[in-house]
Assembly symmetry: C2
Homo-oligomer: 331 residues x 2
């Protein structure tokens, strides 16, 4: 294939035997052009494979087919997945992404970024936060175009916000364990002040209640692997009989696996373990998988939020994206 | 701050007391406008904070300020970092990114993607590969705009290709170990057919030779943690005295740490360990770091490649991005 310069409107006009202005009107369906001329021009345009200049179209339509992305530490592991999901979905829908990172909450840079995005005539804006920990001040009112938030908490309840479903994550994990015959399930997680910790526990308790169960223990510590080890040691030392552990994240899960092995307990025969995050998908290939886990599908959080920028739903508020259970050898 | 509609060219023209056409010429520095008029129009434009419509500017200049990104499995761990680096750098330079993923090497989709990118009047194209393993067929000749490749091997030696510097990674690791007083350094890596494995070894040997040393052993297996464990067991069982291990990646490094601990060897007192990849940066915070490692700085590979799309250097060929040594507790 050799480089081919694009067919121009003037080529179409020449072949159809009309002026450029008439050709343009014909292609835009103007009522000022006769049906016969319109048909002839369109036939020629099809035959020559004429594709209108995107820049001219943007100028004429006022639409840039570009979406702004305001991000906060976009290279952090969680945010990176959300941003990737968003830009890939925008690409699938042939929208370009103009990314401004690290400027949320930095007031001076923020207003400059907003100004630049307005100048670029973006068709919409996606704000990607850094999870629940930090509430993002709503900037929806500063734009005439649709604004959507992903992986963020906005301070305006009317904003369209897309987040992973932590409650469903807990529900999926616990239901999976119950369906596998487990009845003595412990919850080992991080700080109870953390919204994700509480939502996952809520979902877990709901699944257990449906089978007339409740957790045999709930221990709160940190997100670290060491805490998973310590928590299991504490449970076993206190004589808590358990046949499953639902862990706050995969790091804890790895600690739990180590602690169970150190006590000579077999996984999953004696104790099943489920984590959250699907880190093993991030860092290694499937062959190395050790844990059953819940994937919060942050890629999809970014993708559906991007879709909402392109075609905004009429109602705002917090929307939850379904997590996925990923089977591994620990359950 | 309330939403403010942008100041228009017609506002500037009205205040300056000239026609829109004259205002436009004045702002574009046309010689058809007198110096006095130009000064007056520009003073008004400044005072009103007039910002030209980006779409009109693009149409007039033929530049979209949009860069195409062709990627292959952009969500894979390595590629994801390169893509993130690229889109963040493009954002810093106020270029939008139009991302087409998964279409390299899929011939039908590829030509459709190329056509769409041409139609969008992108200012340049960045092709992000999936590392060395797969040679990307050069598509440079299919575009009139600059094409740059990142984390890829192009089949055209004239193409501008940006890759991590694996040889320097090996050099940095070995020099760090030698400077720490280590003299009996083993290399444990993956398949020798892999270009990265060979380049890292070459750099390691160069650093050792500078101190009159050579590796006490070089073992080749897989990229897996288990191989790191097995390799150390094999070295110790065969009576190889060693005071350091340079590992092909961090996974192997973790296996090496486990195997050394199982043999009662202290890290770093008895044996120092260095990996490659900086996984712990990806998956956890710094507090959990266990390994000294070499970060190939894939984020920067994407960023400098993006810069090269915006301002292409005159000469093509393969360009290497410097890796970074990340100190951890294992050395």
């Amino acid at each position: 294939m050799v480089t081919q310069r694009a067919v121009r409107l003037s080529d179409v006009a020449a072949v159809a035997g009309v002026s450029k202005a008439t050709a343009s009107k014909a292609l835009n369906g103007s009522p000022l052009v006769s049906a016969a001329t319109m048909a002839r021009v369109r036939e020629v345009a099809d035959r020559l494979d004429f594709r209108p200049n995107a820049l001219a179209q943007s100028f004429a339509s006022g639409r840039s087919r570009t979406v702004g992305l305001l991000t906060h530490r976009a290279t952090a592991t969680f945010s990176r997945a959300v941003v990737m999901g968003a830009i890939l979905e925008l690409g699938r829908r042939e929208r370009a992404a103009l990314v401004f990172d690290g400027r949320i909450n930095a007031h001076h840079e923020m207003s400059e970024s907003i100004r630049t995005l307005q100048d670029r005539r973006i068709d919409g804006l996606l704000v990607v936060g850094a999870g629940y920990g930090r509430v993002t001040p709503s900037i929806t009112h500063q734009f005439e175009v649709p604004v959507t938030y992903a992986f963020a908490a906005s301070d305006n309840p009317d904003d369209s916000v897309f987040v992973p479903d932590n409650e469903e994550a807990g529900y999926l994990a616990a239901r999976h364990l119950v369906e596998g015959g487990r009845t003595r399930i412990a919850y080992v997680s991080a700080d109870r002040d953390d919204l994700a910790v509480r939502r996952r526990e809520k979902g877990m308790r709901r699944a257990l209640e449906e089978s007339g169960l409740e957790p045999v223990a709930a221990l709160y510590g940190s997100w670290r692997q060491e805490w998973g080890e310590q928590a299991v040691a504490r449970l076993l030392d206190s004589g808590t009989a358990l046949d499953a552990v639902f862990c706050g994240n995969d790091h804890m899960g790895f600690g739990v696996l180590d602690a169970l092995a150190a006590r000579g307990l077999r996984v999953p025969d004696d104790v099943a373990v489920v984590g959250v995050d699907n880190w093993e998908e991030v860092i290694v290939d499937q062959k190395l998988r050790r844990l059953t886990t819940i994937d919060l599908d942050l890629i999809r959080v970014g993708a559906v939020a991007a879709d909402n920028v392109i075609e905004p739903s009429s109602d705002g508020g917090e929307r939850f994206v379904e997590p996925k259970l990923i089977r591994g050898p620990s359950s």
